[in-house]
Amino acid sequence: MSHSDQTIPDIPDAPNPVLRIVRMLWADKFAFVSALFLLLILFCAVFGPLLLEDVATKQNLRGRNAPPFDFSKHWLFWLGGDALGRPLLARIVVAAQNTIFVAAGAVFFSLLIGTSLGLIAGYTSKTLSQVIMRLADIIMSFPSLLLAVIVLFMLESSVFNLVIVLAITRIPVYLRTARAETLEVRERMFVQAARVMGASTKRIVFRHILPVVFPTLVTIATLDFAFVMLAESSLSFLGIGIQPPEITWGLMVSQGRPYLTTAWWLSFWPGLAIILTTLSLNLLSHWLRTALDPAQRWRLENVGKKNG
């Protein structure tokens, strides 16, 4: 990476944006490792079930609760086997798909709906704003457990329904932030200027306000992704989230709980997978906050010149 930037000396003040991001990532080693780890998890989520679905569901009762670190076995058994003798490593890779897609879907829908409602509440009439804010209050105090049970009984359990439950509970976060930011941005000079020049509401909201508000929302979304993952794990752990035979990491922790004293690895590894993923997301969002903040970005950009 460091030698490729010398090949474009003719345009030094406009470096390739991808290269610039990679270089800023490289400046923060923790963030760099996190990004790599998340790419690996993403790869598992997309291709894991295709590659390992059969191995992960094949039962082998002789290998029940096989202990980890037995390197004489096939590498899939290096983390041990579960209560039905299925390789834990393969199951963790396969479970990455549901875990990641539930969290990604929930974050996407809550970001989309929350931001739209927040922009509406921030830019249009006071009455509408009041209605939307009260709605947010209600959602905030509605217990997500009850919502999960209602959906589970009304609509039967599926990955998509869990996405809906989690998305609804997270809408207020984006809504409140988007509204608060919009209220501030709409009073700024350039928005006023656009209004004086006769720009339509649609144009002001999408061309002038949204781009200013969006980076904050994206930073929140990275943090929230970790939160939603933990929430999904908790629901699955309590038995009102994903139902077997579908698996997620949270469900694996709960399935291993009865064997805790005899086979700790059943619950330990999937829990570790959750921690490492959320930790990476937190580290990355930590970096993102610095990278998106013009006043702090120098900390990442000229590390070469810094002597600390």
Binding site: R134, L135, D137, I138, S141, F142, P143, L145, L146, V149, I150, F153, M154, A226, L230, S233, S234, F237, L238, G250, V253, S254, R257, L260, T261, W264, S267, F268, G271, I274, I275, T278, L279, L281, N282, L283, H286, G308
Partner: protein, 304 residues
Amino acid sequence: MMKFLGKRAVASAISLVGLILLVFFLSRLTGDPTGLYLPLDASEESRNQFREIHGLNDPLIVQFFSYMGDLVRLDFGDSIRRSEPAIDVVLRGFAWTLQLALITMSLVVALAIVVGSLAAYHVGGIFDRIATFFSLIGASAPDFWVAIVAIVIFSVTLGWVPTSGTGSVWHWILPITVLFIRPFGLIVQIVRGSMITALGSAYVKTARAKGVKNRPIIFVHALRNALLPVITVIGDQAAALLNGAVVVETIFGFPGVGKLMIDSILQRDFTVVMAAIMVTAMAIFLMNIVIDILYSILDPRIRY
């Protein structure tokens, strides 16, 4: 100030009524509790009688208005599961949760402010790195996993503390520790971030030029300004704890409102669910008002 409080009360009352409406009708969609409480071979007559006793035979809308009528007289109805007033069951659970939340949050706030401020004092120093690393891990740890790993290590293997239940001081240690970790990690991060900004501001430079010592600079001059965003997050975390730490309470068999809530939802004990939601909503409403008052104490520019 009074006008502000009145406005807040009206807005909360509207939300509370909306919440009651939604919960009442939606929770009834999850099914009839009769099958859960009577034996499988119960006759249709006894089923009917059960429904009659608990008022489940009337049309939903009639049930709703009779419930609201009782509610005005502060009668929350009886619990199906325990045959005693729902509000008694809920208040008993809430008392446990309130103690747990208060102890945990006091520890979190005290330690997170000290650790976060000291980390901010030397950005990039060794203490800062350790504090940042561990607080990030803390903020990322799923509480149910930490809880069961802690049980295996400290209760089963080492035998230092009981695995679950209540009764002695020792029973409180694991639940408090597990609940402590996540809010602590989050709040250290926030304190550190806003302290960095505060320590870099001009008035801190002035204080330093005057010769003020380090400790008063951090904990008197900078902290007061840095606390505003911290209080918002403390409020969010405290609200989550007041709602009942469902998972942790379930794992440790702690008789708080969170465990009560999940049990009542699964057992279709509707009156208890409603009462629990109203009690916690009121508690969170009161806490939010306290937070707003704290804002105006810390920053006199904020007026209501």
